[in-house]
Amino acid sequence: MAVSEMAGEAGVSSSGFKITPAAVAPSKKKRNLPGMPDPEAEVIALSPRTLLATNRFVCEICNKGFQRDQNLQLHRRGHNLPWKLRQRTTKEVRKRVYVCPEPSCVHHNPTRALGDLTGIKKHFCRKHGEKKWKCERCSKKYAVQSDWKAHMKTCGTREYKCDCGTLFSRRDSFITHRAFCDALAEESARSQTLPISPEGNPNVKAVVASPPPPPLTPSTTVVSPALSIQSSELPDNPIGLSPPTPATTCLTTSTTISTTCASSNTSSSCTVFASIFAPSTTTQISQLPQTSASSYSNNVSSLARPHSSTTHPTIAGLEPTSLSLSTSLYLSLNNGSSLFPTPENQDSRHYAPSPQPAAMSATALLQKAAQMGAAASNAPLLCGFGLTTSSSSSAAQKSQIKPESGAAVAAGLGLGLSSVENSGLTDYLVMGPSPTFGNPPMTRDLLGLSIGGGSGGSTGRLSALLNSFGGSGFDVTASPTSYGGGPPERKPNGPTLL
C-alpha cells in the first residue's frame, strides 16, 4: 500500500526512490528540529526530477497539470470522468521524512532528513537548483517562487529617508550618506548655539520637519567646465574657452577620463553643466593644474625631477609634448567617428573604423589591415610619441588642429574615450613608421607590410597570422557572457562557436 502510494505521488518518474527506516536517537512526539527526524519515520528519497516537477498530475483529456492529486480529481469532475478523492485513512499514517538527493548535501543523510515534502522541495531548489526568480529592484535571485514573493514584500518597502530627500533601502548606506550629507551640515550649522535635542536616532522614516536645505553651490565640482571643452560634439563652446590656455588644455586632459559617460551619452547634459558653471570656470581652472600633473608624481621620490617645486612649469612642459603626441596621433587617426567635427585628415577615410567590432570577423579585420597598410603612405603612428614628423602635411594638419587641441589632447591622452562608443581606441592605433624605436627607418605600413611584399619578417607575421585563423572566419561579437563558477569554465581552450 505504501509503495503504491509512493508510485502515485511520484508521478512520471518512479525511479530512484527507496524506503528505509531512519535510525536516530529516540525523540519525542512533538515537533523536531529540522534535520532531526522522528526515528520511527519512513525515509523517502525522491529523485531530483521528482522534486522539481511541478505539475505532476495531468488530466488526460485536456492535459492541464496540477500539483496535487486532489485538484486533478476535482478537475476531472468537470469532464464527467470518474473521479476519486482519497480520504484520509483512519489508521495512523506513518510519518514520512525526505532526504535530499544531492549526495554532497548534509540532508542526504537519512539522519538529517527533512520533515515534509514541500520542505525538501524548497530546500533542493534553494540549495541545488537554478535561481530563476529575480527581484527587479535589487537583482537578487531566488530558486523558490515563494522566497521570491516573500522578498518582494519587503524589498524597497523598508526605506530610510535622509533629510535631503534621498531614499535608502540599506541602513549602512543610509548612515554613511547621512553622516556626510549637506543636510546634516546645514542643520548643525544652524543649531550651533542651541543644544541638540537628544533624539539621536537617524532611523526616522518620517521626514524631519526642517525645510530641505538650499542646494549648495557646487563650487567644488571642477569637472564641469571640462565637460564642455572635451565633449567636442558640442558645436559651440558656451563657456567661451575657445583660446584654451595651457592650463585649460591640461584641464581637459586631466578630466577627460571621467566624463566618458557624460559625453558619450548626453551631450545635452554637458551643455547644461557648462552653462551652470560658466561663472566659476576661471577660478576653478587655476586650481586644477595642481592636480592634473600630480597623479603619480606626488608620491614619487622625485629628486631627479626638475619640476618638483612648482607645478606650472610641469604643465607647460607637459603640454607641448602632449599636443604633439595627440596631434600626430590625431593625424593618423582613423576617426570616422564623430569625435572631431572637422576631420580633414587625409588618412581618415583610409582608416575608417568598423562601426562595431561585432560586424567584423577577425579575418576580415586582418584583410582590411592589409589593405589599409598597403594604401597608407606615411601615416605616422608612434612618431606621435614626440618624434619627428617631417611631412609637411602633418605640420599643416597640426596647425589645423590647434583650435581643437583640447579635444585632440583628449583623444590623445584620453585614449579615445569620449564619444567612441564601441571600440575603445579606434581612433588611436594606426600603424605606421616608427623610426625611433631602433628599427630600420623604412616606410612601413599597417602590420609592417609594404606594397609588393617587402620585408620578409613583417610580411611573414601577417601571413602567419592569417594562417592561424585557418580560413575560418570568426567574429568578435559583443554578446553577454555567462560566467561559470571557476576559471576552467571561463577560459575554454577549444572553439566555442555557437
Binding site: L184, Y296, G414, F437, S472
Partner: protein, 460 residues
C-alpha cells in the same frame, strides 16, 4: 569569461597578395595559436602577454599588430571582457609611449586625472557593490569588539576611501549599552593620488564626521598628521578648506614624513586610549622592495609595520584586495591582473547597465589601477598589492598574530551580503583568521585583524 561567438559562414580569404602566405611561423601567429575560432578571455590574455613581451623586447611592430587586434576587441561599453581589455590596452599603450626615450618622459605622468567626487557621491560610490562595504563591516565589527570596556578610542586611519568607513562605527558606538566612548580619528595628510578622489580636503571630511558624531552624541576629535605646517587640527577649530588635496609637504618622501610622525608624542597617544590601526587598501602603496640605504635592508612596508607595532595598538585591522599584483615580471602581472580584475567587472555587469555612469566610473578607477600596475615600473609603480596570504605572512613576520572574527561579525557580514546580488559570498580562512569576500566563489577582498605579540592586551 568568454566572448560568445556567432558562427558565420566560412569566409574564404580573398587577399590581394597571395604571396603573403610565405613563411608559416611568426610571432603574432604564435600569439593567436590556440585561439582558433574564439577570441575569449584566454586568448585576450595571451594577446596581452604577447604585446607586453613585444614591448619588453622592443619589437614594436609586433606590439603594434597585437594592439591593433586588441583594439578591435576592446570596447569600453561592451561586455566585461571587452571593457577589461580596453583598460589593459590603454595601460599597454601608456607603457609603450614610455618605451621611447624621448622628451615625453618628463615626469612619467601620462595618466589623466580622475574626477573629483563630492562626499555624498563618494558615499554612494562605496556602496555600489560590497567591495568596500565588506571590509568596513568586518573591520568595524572587529574594532567594536576590541575596544570593549574602553572609554577612549583613537583610530589611526590609513585608507583610500576618505573615512567612509566611520559613520557606521560611530553609529554603533552611539548605541553601546555602556555609552559611547570618546572617539578620536587621525588621518595622514598625504594620500596616494589614486581614485576615488574627493573635491574637499580631509579636514572638511573630518568636520562632517564631527557633525555627525555630535548629532549622535559621541565625543569626537579629528586630527591630521604629516603636514609640515601643522601637526594636528581638531575638528572644532579647523577651517574648512575647499582646495583640493594639497599635500604640499616640504619633503618629497611623503611616506617617510608620515613614518617619522608615527610616534607617541606626535600622535599624542594617551595611556587610557585604545589605539586602533586601520589599514584599508593602503599597505599596497608602501614600497615592498628592500631598501638597504634607508631601512637597513628592510622595505618601507616592513618598517612601517614595525613602527606600528611599536605603538602597541589594541588591534590592527587590515583590509585589501586579495591578489598578488606586485611581481617584478610584467607578464606575470598582466596575467594575474587580468585574472583578478574580471571579478569586479563581472559583478558590475550583472548589476548595472552597460552605459551606467556609476559603472563606468568604477571601472575607470580600476582602469587607473591597471594603468599603474602595467604601465609603470620602479617607484612610479605605486600599486603593489599583495594577497591576503602574503600579507598575513608579512604581519606575522612583523610580530603580529591574527585574531579571529567573532560569530556576530560573520553574521553581520552575511546579512550585508544578503542585501546585495546573489553572487556575493563570504568564506572564512581558518588558518589565517581571514574573512574573504567572494564573487561567484572567487576571492575578491580579504579582511584580517591583528594584535601585536608582546603586550597585546586582548588575551585576558
Amino acid at each position: 569569461m568568454k566572448t560568445e561567438l556567432r558562427a558565420s559562414t566560412t569566409t574564404s580569404l580573398s587577399l590581394q597578395n597571395h604571396n603573403l602566405f610565405t613563411s608559416p611561423q611568426g610571432s603574432l601567429a604564435g600569439a593567436l595559436k590556440g585561439c582558433l575560432g574564439s577570441l575569449d578571455g584566454a586568448c585576450i590574455e595571451k594577446l596581452l602577454l604577447h604585446c607586453a613581451s613585444a614591448l619588453e623586447s622592443n619589437d614594436i611592430t609586433l606590439a603594434q599588430q597585437v594592439m591593433w587586434v586588441l583594439n578591435n576587441v576592446a570596447s569600453s561599453l561592451g561586455d566585461p571582457n571587452q571593457r577589461l581589455t580596453s583598460w589593459f590596452l590603454r595601460a599597454l599603450i601608456s607603457r609603450a609611449s614610455r618605451v621611447c626615450p624621448t622628451a615625453l618622459n618628463l615626469n612619467g605622468n601620462g595618466f589623466v586625472q580622475r574626477r573629483l567626487m563630492s562626499v555624498t557621491e563618494l558615499a554612494e560610490y562605496v556602496d555600489l557593490i560590497p567591495w568596500h562595504r565588506f571590509g568596513y563591516s568586518a573591520s568595524n565589527s572587529a574594532i567594536f569588539k576590541a575596544i570593549e570596556g574602553f572609554s577612549k578610542v583613537h583610530i589611526l586611519d590609513f585608507s583610500i576611501t576618505h573615512c567612509m568607513q566611520w559613520p557606521t562605527l560611530i553609529d554603533a558606538l552611539a548605541k553601546r549599552p555602556e555609552g559611547p566612548p570618546s572617539l578620536r580619528i587621525t588621518v595622514p595628510s598625504f594620500r596616494p593620488q589614486v581614485p576615488p578622489l574627493l573635491n574637499v580636503s580631509c579636514e572638511e571630511v573630518g568636520l562632517r564626521l564631527g557633525n555627525f558624531s555630535k548629532f549622535r552624541q559621541v565625543p569626537f576629535e579629528f586630527n591630521v598628521i604629516g603636514n609640515s605646517s601643522s601637526s594636528s587640527s581638531s575638528s572644532t577649530s579647523s577651517t574648512s578648506e575647499t582646495t583640493i588635496m594639497s599635500e604640499e609637504s616640504s619633503s618629497l618622501f611623503p611616506f617617510e614624513v608620515l613614518l617619522s610622525q608615527l610616534n607617541p608624542s606626535s600622535l599624542n597617544l594617551q595611556e587610557d586610549e585604545a589605539l586602533v590601526i586601520n589599514f584599508q587598501n593602503w599597505l599596497r602603496y608602501l614600497c615592498d622592495e628592500p631598501n638597504v640605504e634607508i631601512y637597513e635592508g628592510a622595505s618601507l612596508r616592513d618598517t612601517f609595520l614595525n613602527t606600528i607595532k611599536s605603538l602597541n595598538p589594541r588591534v590592527v585591522v587590515v583590509v585589501d584586495e586579495d591578489s598578488d599584483l606586485s611581481a617584478s615580471s610584467l607578464t606575470s602581472r598582466i596575467t594575474t591582473c587580468f585574472n583578478y580584475l574580471w571579478i569586479p567587472f563581472d559583478a558590475l555587469e550583472t548589476f548595472l547597465a552597460k552605459d551606467s555612469p556609476h559603472r563606468i566610473e568604477f571601472e575607470a578607477d580600476i582602469g587607473h589601477k591597471i594603468e599603474n600596475i602595467i604601465g609603470f615600473e620602479g617607484f612610479q609603480r605605486i600599486e603593489r598589492l599583495e594577497s591576503g596570504l602574503m600579507l598575513s605572512q608579512r604581519m606575522k613576520n612583523a610580530g603580529f598574530f591574527s585574531i579571529p572574527f567573532g560569530e556576530d561579525t560573520v553574521g553581520e557580514v552575511k546579512a550585508l551580503l544578503d542585501e546585495h546580488a546573489s553572487g556575493w559570498g563570504m568564506k572564512r580562512e581558518e588558518d589565517n583568521n581571514m574573512l574573504v569576500l567572494t564573487w561567484k566563489g572567487h576571492n575578491s577582498v580579504f579582511a584580517t585583524a591583528w594584535v601585536p605579540t608582546n603586550g597585546g592586551s586582548l588575551e585576558d
